[in-house]
Every structure is written in structure tokens, then in C-alpha cells.
């Protein structure tokens, strides 16, 4: 079981003062899957993936990635190992051209043909025609797509998407779903998502967090049928 996992976490804890944001989470992520993380607001989802990506230091517990203990590695080293994180609140280089945003992500891996690789990643999200535009002037939905393109340009083994569809129009959400399906199974996806339709459509497996703990974990059908989840989250 552990050998199958791309990432596994044991006993993760992160408290902020009296707030038990992450309170003893065990978690396994199987390679090649799309794994959704759901739960009510304040359940600790963003803090939890912050611990995985290294944005937030772990208080106690261990994280293994691809057979290596990464618990104490700084965030930029984890990116080099293949963990990419896209921000919940769009975090692009607003003053720089769209091209530079993606090139910054791609240039660590590609010494040669940077332009070709960067444009290919932009094309995956349909922004290749806007490469020279200043990123901050893009429409909101396009900024979200750029954020995802930056994550893809890291060519990660694990792509963590924090509420990627927030604020997207329905047509854009369809495009997003196709995009995420396209990156698996080469890339494993961990998806924080509020839109249940997207979750049920995409996810191979779902973990439900509540008050910093794992409430349930399983296939979409199991989660849908789980009474505790219905009570806590789906509202019956």
C-alpha cells in the first residue's frame, strides 16, 4: 500500500494558537489519480496542502513523497522534487507579460528551447495568443488559467490545485475539467474544490476534512452515501 503511494502523510498537526487547523491527519495519495479534498469552510484544506507544499511548516507528523521524507524540506526544494502548488487567490506576476509568467516556471527544467516549451504550456490553457499581454490586464478567468499553466509548466509529479474553478464561468469549467483529465495519469492531481459537480466528475477518490481531521475517504459513490459527510457538509 505504502509503495503505491506517491505521497503519504502521518499524524500531521498544525495549530494556530487555539485554532486546530490541521489536527492529526493521515493521508495517502495514489500515483496517477485525481484526488479531491472537500470540506466546509475552515475545515483546514488550504492549511493541509500548505503543509504538503511546504508553504507552512509542520508542527508534528511526517510527510513522505516518492519514497523520501520531505517533512523539513523548504518549499522551493519540494517544487524541485515535483510538487507544484497553484494558489487559491490568484498569484501571478501581474506586472510581467503572460509569457514571462510561464517562462519563469519552465526555465528551471528547460535550458534550451524555452520559448517552445513555454508557448506549449500556454497553448494547453488556450492563452498562446496572449503571450505578450501584461498578465494583470487579463480577464479574471484567464488569470486563473494562467495560474494553472504556471503549475503545468513546472511539469510536476503532483499538481495541487487550490479551488481552481472559483469564479470561472460554466464554459470555462468544462475546459478546465478536460485539461485536468488530460494531465493524468502522468501527473497526480490533488484538488481542493467546492463545486461538487466538478468533484464528482473528476475525482477518482475523495477525502473529506472537517475541523482539521479526516471525516471520510473513499470513492465518490461511497462519499455520496456517507451519512457523516452528508450531515457535516452536503447538508443532508
Amino acid at each position: 500500500m505504502a509503495a503505491m503511494s506517491l505521497l503519504s502523510a502521518r499524524g500531521l498537526i498544525r495549530h494556530f494558537g487555539g485554532l486546530r487547523a490541521v489536527d492529526g491527519i493521515d493521508f495517502d495519495l495514489e500515483a496517477g489519480q485525481i484526488h479531491a479534498l472537500i470540506g466546509p469552510n475552515g475545515a483546514g484544506k488550504t492549511t493541509f496542502v500548505g503543509l504538503l507544499s511546504g508553504r507552512i511548516p509542520v508542527q508534528s507528523g511526517t510527510i513522505w513523497f516518492n519514497g523520501q521524507d520531505i517533512t523539513r524540506l523548504p518549499a522551493h526544494r519540494r517544487v524541485a522534487l515535483g510538487i507544484a502548488y497553484t494558489f487559491q487567490i490568484t498569484s501571478i506576476f501581474a506586472a510581467l507579460p503572460v509569457y514571462d509568467n510561464v517562462a519563469l516556471a519552465a526555465q528551471r527544467l528547460h535550458r534550451r528551447d524555452l520559448r517552445v516549451h513555454s508557448m506549449a504550456h500556454l497553448a494547453r490553457v488556450g492563452l498562446e495568443g496572449r503571450a505578450d499581454q501584461v498578465a494583470g490586464t487579463l480577464a479574471y478567468g484567464h488569470q486563473r488559467l494562467l495560474e494553472i499553466a504556471m503549475g503545468l509548466a513546472l511539469e510536476p509529479r503532483l499538481l495541487i490545485l487550490d479551488e481552481p474553478t472559483q469564479g470561472l464561468a460554466n464554459a470555462e469549467i468544462d475546459g478546465f475539467k478536460a485539461l485536468v483529465r488530460g494531465v493524468t495519469p502522468q501527473t497526480t492531481v490533488l484538488l481542493i474544490e467546492h463545486n461538487m459537480e466538478v468533484v464528482m466528475d473528476l475525482a477518482d477518490r475523495i477525502t473529506v476534512l472537517d475541523a482539521g481531521q479526516v471525516l471520510a475517504s473513499g470513492a465518490p459513490a461511497e462519499i455520496r452515501a456517507n451519512r457523516a459527510v452528508q450531515a457535516a457538509y452536503l447538508g443532508g
Binding site: 522551493h76 517544487v79 494558489f87 498569484s91 506576476f93 510581467l96 516556471a105
Partner: protein
């Protein structure tokens, strides 16, 4: 293509000026080019990478004393002494950076300022060696490289231009390189850069060391070309001046430092011919700038006319 053309044209223009400038301005321009190298170094830290240092006088002084003391105390020839000054600037930046980069923002400003003040006081404390407040004059014989007397007008101008040209082209290459792109990324959004796999500390330290090499080269060049080293160059004034030069010329624009130094130099030069309150004129000019062109002269030009200006 047009980027290189523009910068080469500036260098050709500076080369041609030697045939038309009257002697007084001839010396001024040599000084301006050396100070512009210092300002370029500051621009790499502040304009490109977003590190607002208030201690760059220390790096200028490191270069100046590195070269000056190698000549006066150790009796080195000018060429290796110049090199010693450049290295001293880089090493000083590394030492300050390793400690100061544990902070950011206002704390970084204060820590760098404190380091520079400590350096200033150290120079005064070792007055018998450094010349203290009065400084030291470098003998004319010690200011020659390969038979070329750098205290004479034309060789001095050409040496200043050579230093400036190397610094300018290296700066241009840097901002168009991958490292340059990452340095800009640190300025624009450090957290995002970190999550793209870049170590903010390492990138900022690299920027600071490059900046220190520039400041060191300027200090070293100033010592040899103008034959004087003094504690005043380590004072707070020389930490504030590069900031003003860069803001005036255009922060983050490669040619900005040259324009900033040039305009400020002649603003002081011309206004002091009319009034003893010339700093008032400078102050007013800076106010006008902040109000109407907050991105500096070339920054405004880039925004409105030449978006391709690096």
C-alpha cells in the same frame, strides 16, 4: 536588436563626446560615468530585485578603500589594486547580505543602514591608515596602467568609459538572462517565485553580490581615476544618492542610472551657479518628479513610448 542598437549608440555617443566637450565638462562626464556604474549596481539590487538598501555607501567604500589601501599601504600597482577593489565590493556585499537578508522591507533598510554606519565609523577609527575624514590622495605615479597615466584627462575619460561600457553591457545581458528574470520575479511576487522552485534567499544574495561588484568597481575606479579616497564616500549621503539617481532616471531601466546621475549632477552644477540654496532646487525637482513621473524619466518613457526598453 534595437535594444542592443540603442545601448551601443549611447556608448558611441559617450565616446564621441570627448572630441567636443570643454575641459570642465570633460572631467565631469568621467565622474558621471563612474558614479553611474555605482548607480547601476544599486539599480540591480533595488530596481530589478526590489531590495531597498540604505547601506550601499559601504560597498562603494569597500571598493574605494580596497583599491586605495592596496596602493598606499601595500604598494600594489594600479591594475591588481583595481581588481582588489572590485572583489572587496563583492565580498562586503556577501557578508552584509548573508546577515541582512534574514530581514525584509523596513528592517532590511535599517540593518543595511547600520552596517554602513559601522563601516563609516570603522574608517574614521582607523584614521592613521585610512586618512579618516581628510582622506588620502593617491600619488600620480601609482595611477598608471601599462604606461597609461590615468590622471590625465583623455586616458581618464576613456578608462571611465571602458568601465561604464563593460558595466552597461553586462547589466543589459543580466536583465535579459534567466537569472535576471528570476530577480524581477522576486521583486514582483516573492511567495509565487518560491512556489516556482526558486530560493528567495539565494537569488537575493546573488543580486546583492552582483550589486556589490558594481559598487566595488565604481569605488575602485573613482580611487584610481580621481586619485582620492575619503570617509565621506562611506557616509549616509552616498547611500541615499544612488537611490535618488535610480528613482530619477527610472528604477529597473538599464539606462536609468546614467540618466539619473547625469541629470542630478547638472541640476546641482547649474543651480549652484545661481544660488547657494541649490539643494532646494534639487528638492523641488525631485518633488516634481514624484508627482508627475513617479517611475522616473526613462520609466515614464518606457510606459508611454518605448515599452521594449529593458
Amino acid at each position: 536588436m534595437r535594444v542592443w542598437t540603442l545601448h551601443l549608440a549611447v556608448l558611441v555617443l559617450l565616446f564621441g563626446l570627448q572630441f567636443v566637450l570643454p575641459p570642465y565638462h570633460f572631467t565631469n562626464f568621467a565622474r558621471i560615468m563612474v558614479l553611474a556604474v555605482f548607480a547601476m549596481g544599486y539599480n540591480i539590487a533595488f530596481g530589478v530585485t526590489g531590495l531597498l538598501s540604505l547601506g550601499h555607501a559601504l560597498l562603494l567604500a569597500a571598493g574605494m578603500y580596497g583599491t586605495g589601501l592596496a596602493i598606499t599601504a601595500l604598494g600594489w600597482p594600479a591594475a591588481p589594486a583595481l581588481l582588489a577593489g572590485v572583489v572587496a565590493g563583492g565580498v562586503m556585499a556577501l557578508a552584509v547580505g548573508v546577515l541582512a537578508l534574514r530581514t525584509a522591507g523596513v528592517a532590511f533598510m535599517i540593518v543595511t543602514l547600520m552596517f554602513a554606519q559601522a563601516g563609516y565609523l570603522t574608517i574614521l577609527y582607523f584614521g592613521p591608515v585610512t586618512g579618516g575624514d581628510e582622506g588620502l590622495v593617491l600619488a600620480r605615479g601609482a595611477r598608471a596602467i601599462g604606461g597609461l597615466d590615468l590622471s590625465a584627462d583623455t586616458p581618464r575619460y576613456l578608462a571611465a568609459l571602458a568601465l561604464f561600457a563593460v558595466a552597461l553591457l553586462a547589466n543589459l545581458a543580466l536583465v535579459r538572462s534567466r537569472l535576471g528574470r528570476v530577480m524581477v520575479a522576486m521583486r514582483e511576487n516573492e511567495e509565487r517565485s518560491r512556489m516556482l522552485g526558486y530560493n528567495p534567499f539565494a537569488v537575493k544574495l546573488a543580486a546583492l553580490v552582483i550589486s556589490g561588484l558594481y559598487a566595488g568597481a565604481a569605488g575602485a575606479g573613482y580611487a584610481v581615476l580621481f586619485g582620492y579616497i575619503g570617509a565621506s564616500f562611506a557616509g549616509i549621503q552616498y547611500s541615499i544618492l544612488p537611490l535618488l539617481w535610480v528613482l530619477l532616471g527610472g528604477a529597473g531601466v538599464v539606462l536609468g542610472p546614467l540618466v539619473g546621475v547625469l541629470v542630478m549632477f547638472y541640476l546641482i552644477d547649474i543651480s549652484s551657479g545661481y544660488t547657494t540654496a541649490h539643494l532646494l532646487v534639487v528638492g523641488l525637482a525631485l518633488l516634481v518628479l514624484v508627482l508627475f513621473a513617479p517611475k522616473g524619466i526613462l520609466g515614464a518613457l518606457r510606459e508611454r513610448l518605448w515599452p521594449w526598453l529593458p
